[in-house]
Symmetry: C2
Subunit: 425 residues, 2 copies
């Protein structure tokens, strides 16, 4: 039985979770694998803060990253530092020293991933990062193995637990955005600085990684139209409910007519869609593909246990490759380069909410679907509209200073109608 | 680039689906893998019925199984015959001839799986069968890779599409069982002889395979308490709806206190559970585990495309093992042997439906939860009851000839309460 030596960078929630799960499952790993793991060294930023850390007997605790990445005995480096800059340098050095890498660092992978992954392939080491998207859902391994031969046409994700917790609370309790966010911060579901979450940036990072696996498509942040949730109101959530819809922050990547479309932002989902029932901090990813139709994967998006489990599943895959001399195979081997478009620019349906009644004369000029009116609101679904058609309607409704809000209806996107609609305008 | 030669047994819906998908995805396989596949020979039962089959140019069509299993050039045999006896003989012979096996034959794998899998391991060939459970959901590969290090405590499946279609139609349209089944047969969602589906036998086969992967537990059919859906009435579905529950045929395997529990049968699921929203022919599997909490996998349970995709994902895994000389690794390496119990024998809650009003005097002797009564029915949830406590209630309600039906409430199972409750009786 071969023993594989591991080094760990970082001992925060994720790092400590990995140490704990590795100890807890040591017997099962011995029973099911052809190898055992030995955690040799853990590098932390601040030694004094971790003097009482719960580590296996004999584990070296250091504040020098090089004690891990330059140690010839260490075969696998688990990066759980969480920063971009320091992690990039450490991973780069570890790869050059011939070590396989496991990381949960979605920011780094989404921004500099291609270069580091190419380096790993060139050197011939493994580089896995299952935990970087939707913590406990094994979506990357599913996309790169079970769905590898299928042709994926759309990936739709609820992949930010903080945002989904806030939207669920607003919908359930009628709270406004600021109150729901403050509450989430108190409960520990939102960070002190929640910018990356509520503005959709975190979801966009994950969508970039998902797009590589699902479509082979490389994507940069500037190519993804990103909207946050700060403008979502209780009135919109209520009008969505009345019309049988749920508002969620969606991350969408779609292939149609050999073009690639993406979008991150709040959208209205018909209650018949499985994702409409994903509440609180849960994550979910729906995959549409030619052979399978729709498959949906639901689970925890974050947390020490789920993230650690994904990291240890990467560890088993790497261990297996080391024992069999198979390192260097890419996690994702799918590559395609399609023209990139924004899903916001294609014909689609919208949920319109006006926080006041609207006179018949204003509405009569347009076609509406499933209109609903009350003493203090008017809301409706539109038919499939081009951006220009939508703009005309919004302008008409906004006359007389009415406050009008508008969200796309998920899965009403019709890139194929674009050409024929353009002719009509 | 290595070419791997394949033989196919059977050219029904699944077999033809494999041939079609293999041709359609040939370019993607070439792009992402280090090998190509060549389908050399297809063996069918009745040659004349397949004279116009759509096969790649040069493929040999034969009615002699030995032309596949004894051909030294063929490295992988895909078994899509569907029968138990003939498939067992063919697979056995192919393994002895050193060929790797891919099968979707759940009946065979659930009944004779252990022997054949041991033979494959001894000879050193691969034997994969992702398509045998929940057609298009990659649940076996997820359990054997991403969840391999986690400790699974419960698996709950809606894994028979025919039955779920019938129950969904009964619930939606108020149809009785016979009418909904006849309708499903007309639509092609139920077979002419639906016995294995509606009696829960098919779901039990799949649960046996799932239990091996999730718990390492070997199980035989006689150890699984199996109930079908023929006794489920529209009145039960209506009373479940009124109490916020949905009735589904569930297949459940559960580990608690180092004992293994199983159950296949109709049960009432709270509408807050993700599985309650799985309708029609969809399948879903919820996995509860220590590190992850709950993850849910939803998708198509059958059909040519989904089944073929699972078979081809097995084909890629086998191809990879052949190229790298790694054949012989078991699909599932989890082994445990816990005492086996029936989940029907542990304390749990029940949904009781009486198709008539019940006098207060009868009800007053017992505690009920969420009681509902109408002019022609009475229904309620019980607290957690032992089988003996349940029997006492049913006997009281059945006095005066009332028709009383009873279903367990999913996830109300309390093996841990068993001991203390026993003391009370």
């Amino acid at each position: 039985m071969q023993t594989i030596t591991i080094g760990l960078l970082g001992l925060g929630t994720v790092g400590q979770g990995v140490v704990d799960l590795l100890q807890k499952q040591a017997a099962k790993i011995l029973r099911t694998q052809d190898f055992a793991f030995k955690l040799k060294t853990v590098a932390v930023h601040n030694l004094s803060r971790h003097q009482n850390a719960d580590l296996p007997a004999g584990t070296i605790l250091t504040d020098r990253v090089m004690d891990v990445v330059d140690d010839p005995e260490i075969q696998i480096v688990i990066e759980a530092m969480g920063t971009i800059e320091a992690a990039r340098v450490a991973i780069c050095q570890a790869i050059l020293n011939g070590k396989s890498i496991i990381s949960a660092n979605k920011d780094l992978l989404a921004t500099d991933g291609d270069a580091l992954l190419t380096l790993a392939k060139t050197v011939g080491v493994d580089f896995f990062y299952e935990a970087s998207v939707a913590g406990g859902i094994p979506i990357l391994r599913v996309l790169s193995s079970s769905l590898e031969t299928d042709e994926i046409t759309q990936v739709t994700g609820i992949i930010n637990g903080t945002v989904n917790h806030v939207l669920t609370a607003m919908d359930r309790d009628g709270q406004d955005y600021a109150a729901a966010l403050a509450n989430a911060q108190e409960l520990g579901y939102a960070e002190a600085d929640p910018t990356n979450d509520v503005q959709g940036i975190d979801a966009a990072y994950k969508l970039i990684i998902l797009s590589r696996f699902a479509f082979g498509q490389s994507l940069t942040m500037d190519k993804v139209p990103i909207q946050g949730i700060s403008a979502v109101t209780p009135a919109q959530l209520a009008s969505a409910d009345r019309l049988g819809l749920k508002i969620k922050l969606l991350a969408v990547a779609k292939k149609e007519n050999q073009q690639f479309y993406s979008f991150v932002g709040p959208a209205a989902l018909p209650a018949t869609e499985p994702l409409a029932h994903v509440n609180g901090v849960q994550n979910a990813i729906a995959v549409q593909s030619k052979a399978l139709g729709e498959t949906t994967y639901t689970g925890p998006g974050a947390g020490a246990g789920p993230t650690a489990n994904s990291i240890i599943s990467d560890l088993l895959a790497t261990g297996d490759d080391i024992v069999k001399g198979n390192c260097g195979r890419e996690f994702n081997r799918n590559r395609q380069s399609l023209p990139v478009r924004e899903l916001t620019s294609v014909p689609q349906q919208y949920l319109i909410t006006v926080a006041a009644p609207v006179e018949r004369a204003v509405l009569a000029a347009f076609e509406w679907r499933r209109e609903l009116a009350g003493p203090d609101y008017w809301s409706a679904l539109t038919p499939v509209l081009t951006p220009a058609e939508l703009a005309a309607r919004l302008a008409a409704l906004r006359q007389d200073g009415r406050r009008v809000s508008c969200l796309p209806v998920a899965n009403s996107w019709h890139p194929a109608k674009e050409k024929s609609l353009r002719v009509l305008i």
